[in-house]
């Protein structure tokens, strides 16, 4: 095989594996949350750890430009009541594409959800939710995407 062929083959594979789909590349991951102990009627704090790939950022929960898509952690209604979602403090960063500093998260962040268990909550159940975010680096942006999250409940 000629050197040219090898180079093109290697390049094509690397490119295609990375970019096979417009919405296939994930700039952030969510660490699987550990089981959460809940007590009927009491509030419980559920931390969700989000890791953003080096070089990328995701918009904060309150981006300071109307066109930007905020990071949002949402939960299905049952079986627990969501009291509130606490987002971390955002960084304010200026990028090549934005003369105005943007409100973003990068690196590892923790989003805490405060849940309240109703009297009838059963062990073995899980609470399901999703993190919706949109990531960019200094030059380009990835499509908005969601990561499904599932947290087992313990009593």
């Amino acid at each position: 095989m000629s050197r040219f062929c090898k180079l093109v083959l290697a390049g094509s594979l690397a490119t295609l594996v990375l970019s096979a789909q417009f919405r296939g590349f994930q700039a952030a991951s969510v660490a699987p949350p550990p089981p959460v102990a809940v007590k009927a009627g009491a509030e419980t704090r559920v931390p969700v750890t989000v890791r953003v790939r080096p070089g990328y950022h995701i918009n904060s929960s309150k981006p300071n430009e109307d066109y930007l898509i905020p990071t949002a952690l949402t939960w299905d209604a049952a079986p627990l009541e969501v009291v509130r979602v606490e987002y971390p403090e955002a960084e304010t960063v200026t990028y090549d594409f934005s003369p105005k500093p943007l409100s973003v998260y990068s690196g590892e962040i923790e989003i805490v959800t405060v849940l309240r268990a109703p009297a009838g909550a059963k062990p073995g159940e899980t609470i399901s939710g999703r993190l919706h975010y949109q990531a960019c680096n200094n030059k380009a942006c990835l499509a908005p995407t969601s990561v499904e999250i599932s947290v087992p409940l313990e009593h």
């Binding site: 083959l9 430009e65 930007l68 943007l102 499509a143």
Partner: protein, 175 residues
């Protein structure tokens, strides 16, 4: 295993086989290699409608140099380029050039129309989808811009914000 991965594997296998059989290459491929670029390939065709319902068919633009830009309203870097593209359209339109901007906003015209009205685009703007993006391949982020020659071939692809002068030099060289 998804369809894309299978396609990648198949392409790789076909390419490996093809390369092992012969070292035949076209003059274009060699020239492109010398320039550090992929060989020109035919741009996938599409027909989409603009905000006024006019059909835009890429293959009907053969004979013009086309800057085919994929963008979205949520993409900050894309918005930096838009005023450049408006300038390019004004400057080069009469020499056989056009920009075509394809939005990949999932919300479609609901979000694209207000921005288009604000920007007063002087080139065709259409709304595409993931299927179209996959036809073009090599697209994992926005903006992605394909530089298409008068023969309807993609001669260069830019992912992300690049210097305005890069586009200008490419357009000038193709006109």
């Amino acid at each position: 295993m998804n369809r894309s991965f299978l396609s990648v594997a198949l392409l790789a296998a076909l390419f490996t086989f093809g390369c092992s059989q012969s070292s035949v290459s076209t003059e274009k491929a060699e020239a492109a290699q010398a320039a550090g670029k992929d060989a020109p390939k035919a741009a996938p065709d599409f027909t989409l409608t603009d905000a006024d319902g006019n059909e835009i068919t890429l293959s009907k633009l053969k004979g013009q140099v086309v800057l085919l830009n994929f963008w979205a309203t949520w993409c900050g870097p894309c918005k930096i380029e838009m005023p450049w593209f408006i300038d390019f359209q004004r400057k080069y339109k009469d020499r056989g050039f056009t920009v075509v901007a394809v939005s990949l906003d999932e919300e479609g015209w609901d979000v694209v129309r207000p921005y288009a009205e604000e920007m007063q685009f002087n080139f065709p703007v259409v709304v595409g989808n993931d299927e179209l993006a996959e036809k073009f391949g090599d697209m994992y982020a926005l903006p992605t811009t394909f530089v298409i020659n008068k023969q309807g071939e993609i001669v260069d692809t830019h992912t992300g914000l690049v210097d305005r002068t890069v586009y200008e030099e490419e357009i000038e060289s193709l006109l």
